[in-house]
């Protein structure tokens, strides 16, 4: 028996922080509150690092049984924590990124009236997320799962005086509930057939099972239901609708919950359940298809967005799609790898976006930004790293993970060139909209509000993206307008660290080290191993495909540069050349125009009208709204059963009795 690591301390630490801040934060100074919040999340991170350092002396998977929990009949679930390479990785990512975002939030939320409440919620979120990651059985995992949903609801609705924030929070909550049913039913099925939810015993029972090739079967059903749960939490088609709305929350929340950690819980869950999926090929295919479609779909919507956070939100959905694509082709380690790098660069993107928003006084519309690189150099440079990383430029982190996924999508026995092709197209679009964002925000001229005379350049990092700030907050509205200004050090520091990670984070995979690290976890226990069949293709094809994906990234950059950096000057040049020569330059513009009308405009238009307005808003939101309306309608008519008249009530009872007796006579006769 390996020595106890006291893993339970890791989630408990942030909980203590949350409790302290929640109960006493109101009465303490902001310094004390931030000290507590950072100290406890930092302690969790330190603990995680310590655990990582002990790993060589452990036999993984390492199971820590805290106490028996439920032993009802032959069903059992324990308070147990489960540490293997996968959960260790998740642990490090969650606590590390979480810690950085705690730091950042201190600066960002400093002047908000609900500062202590915010910090308390963040800590609470960390508690649930770490529980989810470390859970030794599905039940504990589900508790963390629901808990992160709850804290996400609290944090999205943080500026609850805003109607949109409140309803966004509610939407997130309810859509997530739908996904949770899938998860719950899957758990019930597991209980029914395996009588346990503990990972160790459960997987022991599943391991000897053979794959269900013909399609339908118990494991397929469980896999599909788990995928429903994952789709809800990780914002996949068709349950992604809540994530863009969730951007109503404060930006650090978007970074922590809706980019780096919580939304990846679905991927983690699928990876954790890989033994089930390995034996359910049709469920796996569904996962891959959903992931691929989501990746493409969300990316195309991302093109048409003008709100900087919405672009990032759709980008998150799209990147999550990549991860599911990887899981769907049974390349779990690739998916988890992308999960990790994505946590770095997307967390960074959101934090940098927050810094931008903060710099321009709460403006989120990219059309009213521009030229910001002069004003906020730190933000600019870190954002640049992140943008290149997400676009997949070597040697940044995103390149390695995305390339790995694309390669696996092509070469895996579960994969197909279709997945690869869509993946590459998506990579191109991703690169395009990210650089569009980059150019619009940082290059050209500043198109925002002009500096006003009374603008103060005080460090005013308050809740600028709250359009209707909490009335109890300080007067934090209006100060921000003026010349864009850099954020305080405490916000810049996390940016810098994440930038470094986004840069070097992918290097761990060089030479397949990452895959080997996770290999013991993802051993499918089946005879036909993924790795063997992949090895035979290898070599030149891989290099070729890698080249294509780099080319896609570069062309995305080029197109964005062409349209959003060069084109802004277009009107002026036309004016200059009005009376003059039709030069090659003009001709080039003609081509540009043609190109524009033939390719870009339809794409944009299609993206806007068909996908965004049509599918996203009308079809899916519409369905949700119609469902809500009709429920309300039915509710109103059902309510009229309650006429208040005693005799009609007695009539219901009598009619019910008549029905019951009639049925039972019929049943008795039968």
């Amino acid at each position: 028996m390996t020595p106890s690591l006291h893993l339970w301390l890791i989630p408990i630490l942030p909980l203590v922080g949350a409790a302290i801040n929640g109960l006493m934060g109101r009465r303490c100074s902001r310094h004390a509150v931030s000290g507590v919040a950072v100290a406890f999340s930092g302690a969790a991170f330190a603990m995680a690092l310590w655990v990582a350092s002990q790993i060589s002396s452990l036999s993984l998977p390492h199971l820590e049984l805290l106490s028996p929990w439920i032993r009802a009949g032959n069903f059992q679930a324990d308070f147990a924590f489960f540490l293997d390479q996968l959960s260790l990785l998740m642990l490090l990512v969650v606590s590390g990124v979480g810690f950085l975002i705690h730091l950042y939030s201190i600066g960002y939320m400093w002047d908000d009236a609900g500062f202590s409440r915010f910090m308390s919620y963040l800590n609470l979120f960390m508690f649930f997320m770490l529980t989810l990651v470390l859970a030794g059985n599905y039940l504990l995992m589900f508790i963390g799962w629901e808990g992160v949903g709850l804290s996400s609801y609290l944090l999205i609705g943080f500026w609850f005086t805003k109607d949109s924030a409140a309803s966004a929070g509610k939407k997130a909550f309810i859509v997530n509930r739908i996904g949770d049913f899938g998860f719950l039913i899957a758990l019930f099925l597991l209980i029914k057939h395996f009588n346990t939810l503990n990972f160790a015993q459960l997987f022991e029972q599943i391991r000897p099972l053979q794959p269900e090739v013909a399609g339908a079967g118990l494991l397929t059903a469980i896999g599909l239901l788990l995928m429903v749960g994952a789709a809800g939490k990780s914002a996949q088609i068709p349950l992604y609708v809540w994530l863009p709305d969730a951007m109503e929350g404060p930006t650090p929340v978007s970074a922590l919950i809706h980019a780096a950690t919580m939304v990846t819980a679905g991927v983690y869950m699928v990876a954790r359940s890989h033994l089930i999926f390995d034996r359910a090929p049709s469920a796996l295919t569904v996962v891959a298809i959903i992931g691929t479609l989501t990746a493409l779909f969300a990316a195309t919507i991302g093109i048409a967005q003008t709100d900087i956070k919405k672009v990032l939100a759709y980008s998150t959905i799209s990147q999550l799609g990549y991860m599911f694509m990887a899981c769907g082709v049974a390349a779990y380690s690739a998916g988890v790898f992308h999960l990790m790098t994505h946590a770095f660069f997307k967390g960074l993107l959101f934090l940098a976006a927050g810094s931008v928003i903060h710099a321009v006084g709460g403006e989120q519309d990219m059309r009213r930004m521009g030229g910001l690189r002069k004003y906020i150099p730190w933000t600019f440079w870190t954002m640049t790293v992140a943008t290149f990383a997400i676009a997949g430029f070597p040697p940044l982190a995103g390149f390695f993970s995305k390339d790995e996924i694309l390669w696996k999508a092509y070469s895996s026995p579960h994969g197909s060139w279709v997945f690869w092709l869509i993946g590459v197209v998506t990579a191109f679009i991703t690169s395009f909209y990210m650089f569009r964002l980059w150019f619009l925000t940082f290059f050209g001229e500043y198109r925002g509000a002009q500096p006003s005379s009374k603008a103060k350049l005080a460090t005013e990092p308050a809740a600028h993206d709250s359009h209707a700030p909490d009335p109890h907050a300080h007067d934090n509205h209006g100060h921000g307008h003026g010349t864009p200004h850099e954020s305080p050090m405490i916000m810049v520091l996390p940016l810098a660290i994440l930038a470094v990670l986004s840069f070097v984070g992918g290097w761990v995979a060089i030479g397949g080290r990452f895959e080997r690290f996770l290999a013991p976890v993802f051993d499918s226990g089946l005879t036909a191993s993924v790795a063997e069949s992949a090895a035979e293709t290898g070599g030149s094809t891989e290099t070729l495909l890698m080249g294509i994906s780099i080319a896609a990234a570069v062309s995305g950059l080029f197109l964005a540069w062409f349209l959003y950096h060069r084109q802004p000057a277009l009107p002026a040049r036309i004016a200059a050349s009005l009376g003059g020569v039709y030069t090659a330059v003009y001709n080039k513009y003609y081509v540009d125009d043609l190109y524009n009308t033939v390719f870009v405009k339809p794409l944009l238009k299609g993206s806007t009208t068909v996908l965004w307005h049509g599918v996203d808003q009308a079809a899916i939101d519409g369905t949700v709204n119609v469902a809500a309306d009709s429920a309300r309608h039915v509710s109103d008519s059902v309510r009229h059963m309650q006429s208040g008249n005693l005799r009609s009530y007695a009539g219901w009872v009598a009619a019910g009795a008549a029905a019951v007796i009639a049925y039972i006579i019929w049943a008795g006769v039968r």
Binding site: R647, S648, G651, A654, A655, A657, A658, I661, A662, I665
Partner: protein, 169 residues
């Protein structure tokens, strides 16, 4: 065979009971309904006698007809009877009510008709002479606890009645 249990008496008493029951429903005046109900109660008491249950028959007359119905009449007198009389006796959905009740009644009756075979006649009557004594033994023997706890029920009823009928609390 016990001479009392003749079909003639059964038909007479059951006709009276049903008539009383119908009159309870159709009369507008609450006092008339109450009197019709007393007729039903008395004829049911007669039927109890035919079923070898003199004690229950006695209790039926004393408690029901004598106690409960007097209470009813008393309350009818207490409240303003004129106004209640003028109102229409039936509500508008009378046919739904009739349908539901008739359906229920038909269901019961059909069950009993069909279950006729299930209940073969048993010749031995219960001992009528010692009936009261036997019931007394039951009440203070096996049913002692139920009998005691029934007193608590009556206590609750008394408290409840006092609370609800008090002018102010």
């Amino acid at each position: 065979m016990n001479p009392v249990a003749t079909p003639f008496f059964f038909y007479l008493l059951s006709t009276l009971a049903i008539l009383g029951g119908v009159m309870v429903i159709v009369r507008r005046n609450a006092v008339h309904s109450a009197i019709a109900l007393i007729v039903t109660l008395l004829s049911v008491a007669g039927l109890y006698l035919m079923l070898y249950a003199p004690f229950v028959a006695g209790v039926q007359i004393i408690v029901y007809a004598g106690g409960i119905m007097v209470l009813f009449l008393f309350v009818i007198m207490l409240v303003n009877i004129d106004r209640s009389m003028k109102e229409r006796a039936f509500n508008k959905q009378w046919w739904i009510a009739i349908a539901a009740a008739v359906a229920l009644g038909a269901l019961f009756v059909s069950v009993f008709v069909k279950s006729k075979g299930l209940f073969p006649e048993r010749g031995l009557p219960l001992a009528e002479e010692s009936n009261t004594q036997q019931i007394g033994l039951y009440l203070y023997g096996n049913y002692m606890f139920a009998f005691e706890i029934a007193s608590l029920l009556l206590l609750v009823a008394i408290i409840g009645a006092v609370v609800m009928a008090k002018k102010r609390i």
